[in-house]
């Protein structure tokens, strides 16, 4: 469903809406940098928990775990900085940039739309609706699966990082000092951080599938929108 703001934008440009500029450049840049960071984090994280076979030769000739851990920590920093930048853009960007962070749970119409989208995904609706930003169901899963998992991974991740950088480091002060006592000990934080990776994997699976499926079956562009920023509509019907 087109929001009132979109309709006004549309009216200013003539009656039928063919294309709307949705994702501004910083949002698109963040999306792809973030996707890359998550890929590196998942891969390097996997090999931290289950290391590769032993390296031959002297210990001083090898630094494989060191490099894998470096990649993990570096990508973690990229994820954190990107996330802070994304939060900043939610304040200064267009109203679509805020959609990730706010769930309109007190809006009855929005819940009706969630149900409609559920019915669409269960093949109970013949024709999909038009959405400029995320459809309500997508917004719901973005918030619950992606946003909360990302926050959880940042907090637990930097808490574990702070164990190595020790007391006095920013990550120890901000995270380790309360996260480890909260979980009881370090091993549980490791376990839940590891589970978080799988939740993020689930999100990526559903996210990529839904984006490609909607690109084909819905009435608007999906994948190209995250590249160009423009949402294109396939028909003139409302």
């Amino acid at each position: 469903m087109l929001s009132s703001q979109d309709m006004q934008e549309a009216a200013a440009h003539g009656r039928s809406v063919k294309a709307v500029y949705v994702y501004e450049a910083p949002v698109r840049l963040w999306h792809w940098v973030n996707a890359l960071a998550i890929s590196v984090l998942a891969l390097s994280g996997w090999f931290i928990a289950s290391p590769l076979p032993s390296q031959p030769g002297e210990a001083s000739d090898n630094f494989l775990m060191g490099y894998i851990r470096f990649a993990h920590f570096a990508a973690g920093y990229v994820l954190l900085v990107g996330f802070i930048g994304r939060v900043y853009w939610a304040f200064v960007g267009n109203h679509h940039a805020r959609q990730l962070f706010v769930l309109p749970i007190f809006n009855g119409t929005w819940w009706k739309e969630v149900v409609f989208e559920l019915r669409w995904y269960l093949f109970l609706e013949r024709d999909p609706k038009k959405y400029v930003g995320h459809n309500p169901l997508a917004q719901f899963s973005m918030f619950t699966l992606f946003l909360t998992t990302t926050l959880f991974m940042i907090v637990t991740g930097f808490a574990l990082y702070g164990e190595g950088t020790l007391e006095g480091s920013w990550s120890h002060t901000l995270f380790t000092s309360w996260v480890i006592p909260l979980f009881g000990q370090s091993q549980d934080v490791h376990t839940w951080h590891h589970l978080g990776m799988w939740v993020m994997g689930l999100f990526v699976l559903v996210h990529v599938y839904a984006a490609i499926r909607e690109d084909i079956m819905s009435r608007q562009s999906m994948v190209s929108t995250m590249l160009s920023g423009w949402r294109l509509f396939k028909d003139d019907k409302p």
Binding site: I68, I180, Q187, L195, G201
Partner: protein, 362 residues
């Protein structure tokens, strides 16, 4: 007249030279500079011995066994000279009513000035019947003695976290000290058992400086529990290089490679084993070829196998680790996605042919 530490030591036949040696060793083991040696000596020469009452709840006595093997200082010096260990039902000569009488005597004479050391913990179920001391539940004795104590030392993982008797399902409801005593400073010295030198080191610090050692958020002395075993492990270079023992009898194991893949809990365990070591600095588990089991961490019995790196998650009811749970979830959702995609494709082609038909009709 109350004797000072120095007087007692001299009475024991310790020369002044040995006494000063002991002071510098203590300073070194506490991580203090040489400037503190005279301060330690001065404190021991002038301060009266602090009485320590050592209670035993539900425990296995491994803390006591460790304590009496302390090398720096020797347990003999610790018990006979440093502290005035006035009550310890495992070590003391007297028994029965005589022993209990000493408890009351110290509590009145040194009200608010004695240290209470607790080994083990009180069980709360069945009105505490699982641990009876002198005809009464241990919880009664503990609360009674804690009332006038200056500070409490929780010896070992039992007193600090609960340890094996508190492992799931914890039938006796064994409960760590900080969950039954709330109005006294509590120093946790976890480990199963704690390192002997850590135990005597904590006591020496408290006597020397007349204050508690600096504690972390979980109540452990920072000087011994500030870093993980992994951070100071002599096998750490093999970890960073990616060289691991993959089986107990493989080449990597013989070469002394990192035991991470064998489930070593060094990376998640805060203790001083890799620096202070055990039995007078002879060795520690990893040096003897076995991974750390994380005995000084909260709930270490309930964290799955000692030999797994990614350990089991109890919350899921079945024995499964993060990879099994996550893999299963991903598999189910993945299958659902494939099925959904297939149905979508069919629907799409139906819609298309339907649209074509309606187009033809017009």
């Amino acid at each position: 007249m109350v004797e000072t530490f120095y007087e007692v030591m001299r009475r024991q036949g310790i020369t002044r030279r040995s006494f000063l040696k002991y002071c510098s060793l203590t300073a070194a083991s506490l991580g203090l500079g040489p400037a503190f040696v005279p301060r330690i000596a001065h404190a021991m020469e002038t301060k009266p011995r602090t009485p320590v009452l050592w209670l035993h709840g539900l425990e296995c006595t491994c803390c006591s066994e460790s304590f009496i093997r302390s090398a720096h200082p020797l347990a003999k010096d610790a018990v006979l000279s440093m502290i005035s260990l006035d009550y310890d039902d495992t070590l003391m000569a007297s028994a029965g009513h005589q022993a209990e009488a000493i408890l009351e005597e110290v509590m009145t004479k040194y009200k608010g000035n004695y240290i209470l050391a607790v080994e083990g913990n009180p069980p709360l179920n069945q009105e505490g019947m699982s641990c009876i001391i002198g005809g009464k539940p241990f919880l009664d004795q503990l609360k009674h003695v804690a009332k006038d104590a200056k500070a409490i030392i929780s010896w070992g993982s039992c007193a600090s976290w609960g340890c094996v008797q508190a492992a799931k399902p914890n039938p006796t409801q064994a409960t760590p000290i900080h969950k039954v005593i709330f109005d006294k400073p509590i120093i946790k010295v976890p480990g199963c058992p704690p390192i002997a030198e850590v135990m005597t080191g904590v006591i020496t610090y408290m006597l020397t400086f007349d204050r508690l050692p600096e504690l972390d958020r979980q109540g452990r002395p920072k000087m011994f529990y500030g870093q993980r075993i992994h951070d100071k492990c002599y096998r750490r270079p093999h970890f960073d290089a990616g060289q691991f023992a993959e089986a107990w009898d493989d080449e990597g194991s013989r070469r002394g490679y990192c035991l991470y893949k064998m489930g070593c809990k060094g990376p998640t365990t805060y203790n001083a084993c890799s620096t202070v070591r055990w039995n007078g600095g002879v060795s520690f588990p990893i040096q003897s070829g076995h991974g750390c089991i994380g005995c000084s961490e909260d709930g270490f019995w309930d964290k799955g196998s000692f030999y797994d790196r990614v350990t089991d998650i109890q919350q899921f009811g079945v024995e499964a680790n993060a990879d099994q749970v996550g893999g299963a979830a991903l598999g189910v959702v993945g299958a659902a996605v494939v099925a959904h995609a297939a149905v979508s494709a069919i629907k799409q082609s139906q819609n298309k042919s339907g649209n074509d038909k309606s187009g033809n009709d017009q």
